[in-house]
Amino acid sequence: MRRETLIFCYAMVAPALIFTILLGIYPMLASIRISFLEYDLLRVHTTGTPWVGFENYLRVFNDPKFLQTVVNTGIFTVLAVSGVISLGLLLSQVLNEDYRGRSVVRLLVCVPWFVPPVVASAIWMWLLNTDRSPINYLLMHWGLIDSNIRFLTDREAWGPFSVPMLSVTAVRIWNGLPFVVIFLLAGLQSIPRSLYEAAEMDGASILQKFRYVTLPLLGPVLGVLLMLLVMTGLGHFEINYIMTGGGPQNLTNTMAIYSYQQAFQNWRFDTAAAASGLILILTGIVCIYYIRGQLKKDVR
């Protein structure tokens, strides 16, 4: 490549790179550094920030509440990712077909995307409020229930599953669905029609076309989606924090909320950084798997 072209390329990439380093890489490294220090806001002006090695990580791992948040985060991620991808696959097929009013349906599917998660959480908090929920009202009116469902406050749990956990997961799926649908729709539109026609000539059913044509060709898109959704799932914060604050009884608490609570409620930036460090490690593992997969594919 010519030198001028190289310089031009670097110049084009530089602004994005600088912003990424300043706003992404630097805070991340600073947070990792803090996780190895004692950084208690109430003591920082007297004891400073001495190096404590892995002490913060040990404290975090010895906290049963944190271990519960790890399980909760895992459950939440699996439920949200599988739910949003299953529904996304279904809806993207519907939106990919030719029919009257398709544009309106596409617009409606995208509506939740226009609602920021904070606003969505506030709306759903009202919709799922035990005493004022219109859902409860309708179910009661139709005679399907005789006492209100406590969507966000029921303390009964079946292992890591509970009504509040399922409720916040449903809201996350609702909020994240448009992104997945648009992604998959773009993938579907890139599949040549001739492949479906060939499958039809071979007598393939709808399910077989989906299994042997759609899914394999959507593979790369699904891979990227899966990685992005798992990463956002592991770091998920706002919907759970606003709707339940991690409760009741820690049932919907996630690692990101735990980290926030440590920093801004308890003023322990060190413990918060250690909890965040674990989120970073987990998302890092997901990234490594994905990148390794991509590299292997490129070699082949």
Binding site: D40, L41, L42, R43, V44, H45, T46, K65, M125, L128, N129, T130, D131, R132, D146, S147, N148, R150, L152, T153, R155, I242, M243, T244, G245, G246, G247, P248, Q249, N250, N253, Q261, Q262, F264, Q265, N266, W267
Partner: protein
């Protein structure tokens, strides 16, 4: 000739250098002059209607500038970022010269003697009548560890709120005046449908912040959260057990309080407005102005009353915001002048009216503005029972944080919602609280 010329050139160069030096010195002096004339940076949170508040504060500041010649640069800090702003300030981040502040004990504890609120003991004499002019409860919010930090200008004092309509319906003449009457009233006011579902709860302990509702109840039972020096937790006692037992019985024995009252999705104000809740034990003053202005159709259907008496006293939740000076400023004298100006009767009156915030100044609360509606008179009367919600430990605000994980929240949740053994819950909370308090008292 040549040497003269050279000498002259040398002289010219020297003169020129001297002139440049003089010009530079002049410019620097001018710069210093400019720095000295820099305005005082003043931050304030918004109260009530933002535009009305900002306009009132600006008018007062303009009057101050006209009187003293001191320029003030006002910046309004949104409440959504106020906490993180002050946390940053207390850690050495960008700070104003003076400001409207809160949580003195916590932010002083975090900032130590380097950052955050600055004591102004030397200027205390600027307010010779402070103890006489202000309600005493508010003054404890501006004094910490023997130092004087500023002037309180607003008070969050919390009376009980009751539905007049519900009281009339149940044949009750007045709001409850003690804990026993709360139980009796709440039972009479709770309504259930044919399926046994509650259509109107009789009572809720307070607003959405559950630990703040426990605080005055524990005081009323005769308890105190910590020793006077802020080093020892004092919640493992009969008073705390009695308080939690009473609250527990309200929920599970009398069934007059919604068991979901500690969850973030529970909104007592919405329940009260919609008629699903008859009494709220401890409400902030702005509920009065909000109900008056946003729900005029409800006027006459609700009223406030001074907090009911507990087994020992009638101590009422109270917390004051104050005007104070920040460490690192070189404009302490100007700031004190500004605070002195703002704390005069007329200024405090106008700011209290613009914000609808209860004033800690007796003369303001005796004005017509605070006497034209019954609920306003109740707020004035409640100030006599106000006890500061701040405690002499910097870790206090973390202890009573309204989210799972804080010591008081977890204690309440375990005792009142999860219904664990109160004895064990209180003992465990005492241990946790002491550990947290040791973080700051080791300093």
């Amino acid at each position: 000739m040549t040497s003269d010329t050279t000498r002259n050139r040398g002289k010219n160069r020297t003169v020129s250098t001297l002139m440049r030096g003089a010009a530079l010195a002049g410019a620097l002096a001018a710069g210093v002059g400019t720095a000295a004339a820099e305005p005082v940076k003043f931050w304030s949170q918004p109260y009530g209607d933002l535009l009305q508040w900002q306009s009132s504060l600006e008018k007062n500041i303009q009057a101050f500038t006209a009187e003293t010649g001191i320029e003030v640069d006002l910046q309004i800090i949104n409440w959504s970022s106020a906490f993180s702003n002050w946390l940053t300030v207390a850690q050495g981040g960008a700070a104003p010269d003076c400001a409207d502040m809160f949580w003195l004990y916590s932010f002083s504890g975090i900032g130590g003697d380097k950052y955050g609120p600055k004591p102004i003991n030397d200027h205390r004499s600027a307010w010779p009548e402070l103890d006489k002019d202000f309600f005493p409860g508010s003054l404890t919010d501006v004094n910490w560890q023997g130092d004087f930090y500023g002037i309180p200008w607003r008070v969050d004092v919390r009376p009980i709120l009751v539905s007049r309509t519900a009281l009339d319906e149940a044949g009750l003449a007045a709001a409850p005046d003690n804990w026993d009457e709360i139980v009796a009233h709440a039972k009479a006011l709770t309504k259930r449908d044919d399926n046994g579902n509650v259509s109107r709860w009789g009572y809720n302990f307070g607003m959405t912040n559950a630990p703040q509702a426990l605080v005055p109840l524990y005081w009323q039972a005769g308890g105190s959260f910590m020793s006077d020096d802020g080093k020892t937790a004092t919640i493992d006692n009969d008073e705390m057990r009695a308080t939690l037992q009473w609250m527990h019985d309200m929920i599970w024995e009398h069934k007059v309080v919604n068991p979901d009252f500690m969850e973030p999705s529970y909104d007592p104000q919405a329940d009260f407005v919609s008629g699903n809740l008859a009494m709220v034990g401890s409400v902030a003053p702005n509920w009065g102005s909000q109900l008056s202005s946003q729900y005029p159709e409800l006027n006459g259907s609700w009223e406030m009353a001074i907090a009911p008496k507990g087994p020992k006293n009638r101590d009422t939740y109270s917390g004051a915001g104050y005007w104070g000076v920040l460490r690192g400023t070189d404009k302490e004298a100007e700031c004190v002048k500004l605070i002195e100006f703002l704390s005069q009767n007329d200024q405090m009156q106008s700011l209290s009216e613009a914000s609808s915030a209860v004033s800690p100044r007796r003369s303001v609360m005796a004005s017509n503005y605070w006497a034209d509606e019954p609920w306003k008179k109740v707020l004035s009367a409640s100030l006599e029972y106000g006890r500061t919600s701040q405690h002499p430990s910097p870790v206090w605000s973390a202890l009573v944080s309204p989210k799972p994980g804080s010591v008081i929240y977890d204690m309440m949740y375990d005792a009142l919602v999860a219904q664990k053994n109160i004895d064990e819950v209180v003992s465990a909370a005492q241990v946790r609280m002491q550990v947290e308090m040791n973080r700051s008292s080791d300093n």
